[in-house]
Structures are given as structure tokens and as C-alpha cells.
């Protein structure tokens, strides 16, 4: 089984958002704010499904707080806690 570090998760989340879900410029980085970049309820659910496909972890929606969705990095940290806790 692949080991999911925080950095790898952040890279995965960033890639899904950049390539599949958001229309963003090159200035969009793993530290960019996701809500400001246009993440909405549909995109966040699609993101959660993609994360589940890759890691097997479904993140409960109660954890999708503005703080956790501040950036790909903060979301990765939140997912990492749950990947680690499996």
C-alpha cells in the first residue's frame, strides 16, 4: 500500500484541483486559498471523491471547515490525520 505523507497528499490535492476541478492560473500553488480560487460545494465533493479513490479515505463533511479548506496544504494535513488513523 502506498504511504501517504502530508506532502504527497498536498501534491495530489493540488493536482486534482489545478487539472480537473478549477480554472486557475499558474499563480495557483499548494498554499493558495481554495475558496478564493473558486472551490464550491460541487467541486469540493468531487475533490473528496477523488481523494477517496486514491487513498481510500472519505473525509466527513463536518471536517470541511474554512480553516481546513484554506489551502491544499491545510486540507492535506486534515486528510493525513485520517489516513494515518486508519
Amino acid at each position: 500500500m502506498q504511504e501517504w505523507t502530508r506532502d504527497r497528499l498536498a501534491e495530489l490535492i493540488h493536482r486534482i484541483l489545478r487539472d480537473d476541478l478549477l480554472q486557475v492560473s499558474d499563480a495557483f500553488t499548494p498554499a493558495s486559498n481554495l475558496i478564493e480560487a473558486g472551490l464550491d460545494s460541487l467541486a469540493v465533493t468531487q475533490l473528496m471523491l477523488s481523494i477517496e479513490e486514491s487513498t481510500g479515505v472519505w473525509l466527513d463533511e463536518s471536517l470541511l471547515t474554512p480553516e481546513n479548506l484554506a489551502s491544499s496544504e491545510t486540507l492535506a494535513a486534515c486528510v493525513h490525520e485520517h489516513v494515518g488513523g486508519r
Partner: protein, 459 residues
């Protein structure tokens, strides 16, 4: 979901612009509603303005917008009566459409902003010809009383814009007045790719459409009942009222929505509130269904990019919840979240695009007919809309302050009831559009009380 720069929606001659699948689906409603109920399937957005509205500047900017964007008055026709229906940009009208009328003689002397002009209800019940390009009509009614100003209604055939597009159009016109927008919105240029790129293979697209269709048919396993009951051939008679919550009360509702439904999915809280209001009336009638079915529009515009103004750019997911879960808000919300998540997981959004795309080619009324047959004559429990911040960034419109604004989309005689939520500045507006007579006075009071209680959490 992905986009691709495949075939443009505009024909090589530049004269025909393809309808989106959702346009085709709504065209089916228009055909059905005109045939059975003697009215078009229209939608309305209303701006309640303070003093200072510059009607002549508005008239000029609207005409200029139509010249640059002929879709605003383009006939919708099939080529030689067959083929895929399209906006005929090459045959756009040049004789008074989009129509604008300033009704300077109409006054309301009521306190505050007064009642909504009855003319606006009349407009919602008109017959418009898509074939003749009668797509958009704007009416300005001057208002007296202690808050003088102008009430402005944009009433359009519900294909030209969707709810979000209509707000974008208001923003676009105001930006044009200030000289701050190009004549053609960037995302409406012909080279802009479609929001959802469907597979090229007809078999794959067909499978997607069939999956969506099967999902709709399965909704009928649990009995559904709208306030108006199954479809009937009666004259459409729409009216609406708007409940505006004060700023403090609105803040409380928004906070409750975010904490109970999640800050990204507050619309599920509003769906739940609308379900409970309808449930209160049906319980009082002693005709509680087994389930409530609500079509939830999903905006397909790119996230973070500039979205288009014209044409309907939505898909739909169908929410179904059991009536025996409605009494408990936490259970109801948990079910709504799960149903929505499952729908997205099962690609209902993309499948809906494929299915609606077929509505352009198939006999247009087929889908509505199949849904009604699956649900024993019903289409759904009620219509629902949530558009968040109303005309974000528009504080002033053609020289007049924007005091209030809301949506009032049509709802056919069955289900006969629709609820739309939007935020205007700091206050929450709830528009309840319904067929006249679908609720008695006592039922209307019960509906309103249940809705307010569900939103505020009050006793």
C-alpha cells in the same frame, strides 16, 4: 468534470448557435406549458431601486447589448423544421426586442417599497414566441409612497439565461453603463469551449443518458405528491410573494445553515426548510406522500473562471427523502447530504448533461412525459433555487441605489409551488412562487409559519 476545446457551439456560418442540453430541456417545458397551460415557461428577476433610475441610458445600453449579442432577440428554430433547434443569430430581431417599457403612470402609494406591481405577475403568465425571438422583456414601474423609486422586472424565456446568468446580465449591463465591460462577455464568445465535454461516442453518451433516466424512474418507487397534484390542463396563474428577513435575523439563519448543513452546502438547509413547509401543508390536508423529490440545479460554470451569461448552463441532481424523516431536521439533513453525495459519486451531474443533450434531438416533451409517468403524473414535490449573493457587486443600477432584488422563476401548474432563496446585501429573501388557488389562505399562513420556523429554529 473537464472541459475541452472541441467543436464550437456556433455553426461555421456563424448564424446558428446551438442550444445547450438544459436549454433543450427547458424548451420541452415551454412547449408543454404552452400546450397544456396557455403560458410560456418564463423566469423573472426583480430589482427594487431607489430614486434616480436613468431609463433612457438603460434603453440605450440594452439596445447596444442586443446589437453586440444577438442571442438576446434571436429566434429559436430547427432548420427547415427538423434537426437540432438553435438560436438563429442571423435572423435576430431588430424591431423592439428585447422589449423595454417604462410604465410611468403606475404608482404605489403604500408604505415602504409597497407591494410587487401586479404587472410583474401578468408578465410571468404571458405567452412568448421563441420562434419569433421574443426572449426578453424588461418593465420599469415607478413607485410612489415614502420610498419612491423604480421597480424593474426582467422577464425572459427560461432558456436565454439561467438564474445565475440573469444576475450576470444585470451586472453586465451596469458594467457596460460604466464602460467597464467588453461588448461581448468573454465567456460567451464562440471560441469558448463547453463547460462539460461529453464523450464523442454516441453509445457512451446514450448509456449516460439512460442511467440518468433510470434514476428518474426509480424516484417513483416512493409515492410523491405536490401541493397541486398531478398535471392538469388548466390555465397557468402564477403569483408570488417575497419574505425578506431583517439583517440580524438573516445572519442568524445563515449561521444556522452553515453549522447544520456545512458552510459549503448551505443550500441543503434551505431545501430542508422548504420540504418542511410543504410537509406542514400536506400533513394538515392528511395527504402526506411517502417521499419528497426536489430537482437541485447544479451550476456548471468553471470554478474560479469567468462564467457565461447567456444560455442555461446547469445540470440537475434529484434529491429524494422519505417523508417519515422530515420531522427531525438532523435526520433530514443527513439524508439530503447522503443523497447529494451519492448523486455526485454516480456522476448524475455529467449524466444529466448527456440526458438533456438528447432532449435537443428526441421529441422534446418525451422527458417530461417519462418523468410524470414514473411519478404517477407528478414531476416533483416543488421547484427549488438558491442563488447566494444577489447580483454581487451591484449596489447601484443606472444611477439608482439597489434596495432589494430577488428571483421569481415559473413553476408549472404541477407541482404548482416553487421556493427560491437569495441573499440581497445583508438580508435573506425567500420568494414563494405558486399557482393561484393552490393554497387556501389558512394553508398559506401555515406554509409561511412552517418555513420561518424551519429557517430560524423558532418554536
Amino acid at each position: 468534470m473537464s472541459t475541452s476545446a472541441d467543436a464550437s457551439d456556433v455553426s461555421k456560418s456563424g448564424g446558428r448557435l446551438r442550444l445547450t442540453g438544459a436549454d433543450g430541456f427547458l424548451r420541452a417545458f415551454d412547449v408543454e406549458t404552452r400546450r397544456r397551460n396557455g403560458a410560456s415557461h418564463l423566469a423573472q428577476v426583480v430589482l427594487r431601486l431607489g430614486p434616480g433610475f436613468d431609463a433612457e441610458a438603460f434603453r440605450a445600453v440594452l439596445a447596444d447589448a442586443a446589437r453586440a449579442n444577438p442571442i438576446l432577440c434571436a429566434p429559436i428554430r430547427r432548420t427547415l423544421g427538423v434537426g437540432t433547434p438553435a438560436y438563429r443569430l442571423d435572423a435576430a430581431r431588430a424591431d423592439g426586442w428585447p422589449a423595454f417599457t417604462l410604465h410611468s403612470g403606475v404608482q404605489s402609494a403604500a408604505p415602504g417599497r409597497g407591494p410587487i406591481p401586479p404587472l410583474f405577475f401578468e408578465r410571468l403568465n404571458e405567452v412568448r414566441s421563441a420562434r419569433r425571438g421574443e426572449l426578453l422583456r424588461v418593465d420599469a414601474v415607478s413607485r410612489g409612497g415614502d420610498q419612491p423609486g423604480t421597480d424593474l422586472a426582467f422577464t425572459w424565456l427560461h432558456m436565454l439565461f439561467d438564474g445565475s446568468g440573469s444576475e450576470r446580465f444585470v451586472q453586465f449591463l451596469e458594467a457596460r453603463r460604466r464602460g467597464a465591460a467588453p461588448a461581448v462577455p468573454a465567456a460567451d464568445r464562440p471560441e469558448t469551449p463547453p463547460e462539460v465535454a461529453l464523450p464523442r461516442g454516441a453509445r457512451e453518451r446514450g448509456a449516460m443518458a439512460m442511467t440518468w433516466q433510470r434514476g428518474m424512474q426509480e424516484l417513483g418507487r416512493l409515492r410523491v405528491r405536490s401541493l397541486a397534484g398531478p398535471a392538469r390542463d388548466v390555465q397557468q396563474a402564477l403569483v408570488y410573494d417575497v419574505h425578506s428577513f431583517a439583517a440580524e435575523e438573516s445572519a442568524g439563519i445563515l449561521s444556522r445553515a452553515a453549522s447544520l448543513a456545512g458552510f459549503l452546502t448551505p443550500m441543503l438547509f434551505y431545501v430542508a426548510a422548504a420540504v418542511r413547509a410543504h410537509d406542514a401543508v400536506l400533513r394538515a390536508r392528511g395527504s402526506v406522500p411517502e417521499s419528497y423529490v426536489v430537482p437541485l440545479p447544479v451550476d456548471l460554470r468553471p470554478k474560479g473562471g469567468e462564467g457565461g451569461v447567456f444560455r442555461t448552463r446547469v445540470s440537475m441532481i434529484w434529491l429524494q427523502v422519505r417523508a417519515d424523516r422530515v420531522h427531525d431536521l438532523a435526520l433530514l439533513l443527513a439524508d439530503l447530504k447522503e443523497v447529494r453525495r451519492r448523486a455526485i459519486r454516480e456522476h448524475q451531474v455529467e449524466n444529466g448533461v448527456a440526458a438533456m443533450d438528447y432532449a435537443l434531438r428526441a421529441p422534446a416533451r418525451l422527458y417530461a412525459h417519462m418523468t410524470r409517468r414514473a411519478l404517477r403524473g407528478e414531476l416533483c414535490s416543488f421547484f427549488f433555487g438558491w442563488t447566494a449573493s444577489f447580483c454581487d457587486g451591484v449596489d447601484e443600477f443606472f444611477g439608482a441605489p439597489l434596495l432589494d432584488g430577488f428571483h421569481a422563476p415559473s413553476v408549472p401548474p404541477s407541482p404548482g409551488s416553487g421556493v427560491v432563496f437569495s441573499l440581497c446585501g445583508t438580508h435573506l429573501n425567500v420568494t414563494h412562487v405558486r399557482q393561484q388557488g393552490v393554497l387556501s389562505e389558512a394553508e398559506l399562513a401555515l406554509f409561511r409559519a412552517a418555513l420561518v420556523r424551519a429557517l430560524t429554529g423558532g418554536a
